[in-house]
Amino acid sequence: MKFDIQHRGRLVHLDISAQDSVYRLEHGGKVVEFHCVRVSDDTLSVMVGDRVFTAYVHSAPPGYSVQIHDLAFEFEVLEGGGGIMGERGRRGHGGAHRLSVPMPGKVVSVLKKVGDAVSVGEGIVVVEAMKMQNEIRSPRAGKVREIRVVAGETIEGGATVAVIE
């Protein structure tokens, strides 16, 4: 079965097949055969040759986060995977970028208004969570098209606070 994965901007084609709990994975010309069993919903035990790895595969839209030992990998699934909706969702209409908050919290203040020009890293809103005030900054230069929150409002993690174009 084939999947397309994005990792650190790199595109990786995966082709996986299984027989019992032995899997064969082709990726970018390379082939790896491994033994894999499920420890729990999001935990897999992978054996390659005699090497053992416990992998925590956690769905983190628009993709997955995989933790192995003290390493963490973030993957985006471009097709076939469960992450596709999230992926589409995040990309605004046209060239617009939806600015979202990584965590739930309370909007303390809104620093910009619709129509304002913003430069990279400029603060758009301030969100308080766990007694810390956090400036949510624009990842790109542009113009504020929408502001979707008001001061005092409590918001969920992942909520869009503004759209920058």
Binding site: M1, F3, I5, H7, R8, V12, L14, I16, A18, D20, S21, V22, Y23, L25, H27, K30, V32, E33, F34, H35, C36, S40, D42, T43, L44, V46, V48, G49, D50, F53, A55, Y56, V57, H58, Y64, V66, Q67, I68, H69, D70, L71, A72, F73, F75, V77, G80, G81, G82, P102, M103, P104, G105, K106, A129, M130, K131, M132, N134, T154, G157
Partner: protein, 502 residues
Amino acid sequence: MKVPFKRILIANRGEIAVRVIRACREMGVEACVVYSDADRLSLHVLMADRAWPLGDPVSKHSYLDIDKILHAAEAMGCEAIHPGYGFLAENPEFARRVEEAGIAFVGPTGDCIAALGDKTAARQAARNAGVPVVPGAMTRVSPAEAERVAEEIGYPVLLKAAAGGGGKGMRIVRGREDLAEAFRTASSEAGAAFADASIYIEKFLENPHHIEVQVLFDNHGHGVYLGERECSVQRRYQKVIEETPSPFINDDVRTRMGELAVRLAGSVGYRNAGTVEFLVDADRNFYFLETNTRLQVEHPVTEMVTSIDLVKEQLRLAAGQRLGYGQSAIQPRGHSIECRIYAEDVENGFMPSPGRIVRLVQPSGGPGVRRDSGVYEGFTVPIYYDPLLAKLVTWGKDRSEAIDRMRRALHEYHVTGIKTTIPLAQMVLSNADFLAGSYSTSLLDHLTVRRRDGQHMEEIALAALAVRLLHERLTRTGLTTRRVPTMSPWKRFYRAEAMRKR
């Protein structure tokens, strides 16, 4: 050990409330807690004998509401109140009102808290006790006064919340041009955090060590010090990793610090557990910083080396029992390190990361590992309170064994669903300066943390991901993924041989 109280109230939440509950269990004391609507499922409630609702999750209307706390204590028939740290722990009025209600306050008197909790008064007391202090204003200052004092003692200066702690309401100011703005933000942060916006200014020492001394006093004037804690691994004035003994100071400094700490505490009629914090410069000159008139977050490292259970001692002493031992009885053994695990995203500017803990694999044992956790798998970390989730503590016969065990324990630690500072701890535990024991409070200043992403591991990660995607696809397309059997012998053999050929 004689039971000090029949029943006490723990006026706190999270890991410290759990810590006190455990001490109560060991002493046969009934543990009562309070909880806001956001904490009905918090571990301290699940582990308590009794619990009283405080309603509104906002601290000001729950854990900081003295009337509600006292009502709960009386309603449940508590003989004493342990305040933990933070919240009302260093609020003199709270201590006074508790005692007025005929309930024992596990800590010093309100007057003593007022005298030491206010940094200005504390500095005066320190001076009187012959403890060196950092140059600065001895009073709460207005913006204008701050500017005058800054000129006097010279930049850089440090602005601090008079009521503060934990780095909230703190700003370094390197020049007059930044003073006004820094004062404004510090003051507003202080107001929000401690309901007291007043600010205090002092000379800022470059890259000092932050070392503190634990003291223990009974209500009869007898006190001892239990060694020091090196707390220099900080970011934004928030302690991240602590250890004892300090790899920086020698026995001579150690003893002088301890004796001065005891003298200071004795001079103000201190009782119960307390901590005297010092800044230590590169030449090992130490200056009084502040006193914490309550249990410290990092108290476990002291327990690990002294064999003294500080929380049980707190309860015993609060009941009026005598200390019963002198300084010579304190014989620290080995080395202990604590890593604080916060719900913060280290790769994203330490953004707070509340939310549901999907998977929690906490270091689960072996020698020399202790865990003080306030969370469990499936628990949703609320947005309202401090991000401290747990403390991981190790003990070793020497510093290197304590470090080896901390690295081993961190290796066993896995959290998904929320982000934690485990990667930061792992990075510090492999930082050359930390391993050499030669670090100051500047250690983390220029450190950018990101989860290591080993190329050699990427293939394994891809493999795990592919399996997950395959099974999700099969499930979605209705094909059942039958439980996979163990490998057939030929495959096992194949694998074995294939591997040998490498």
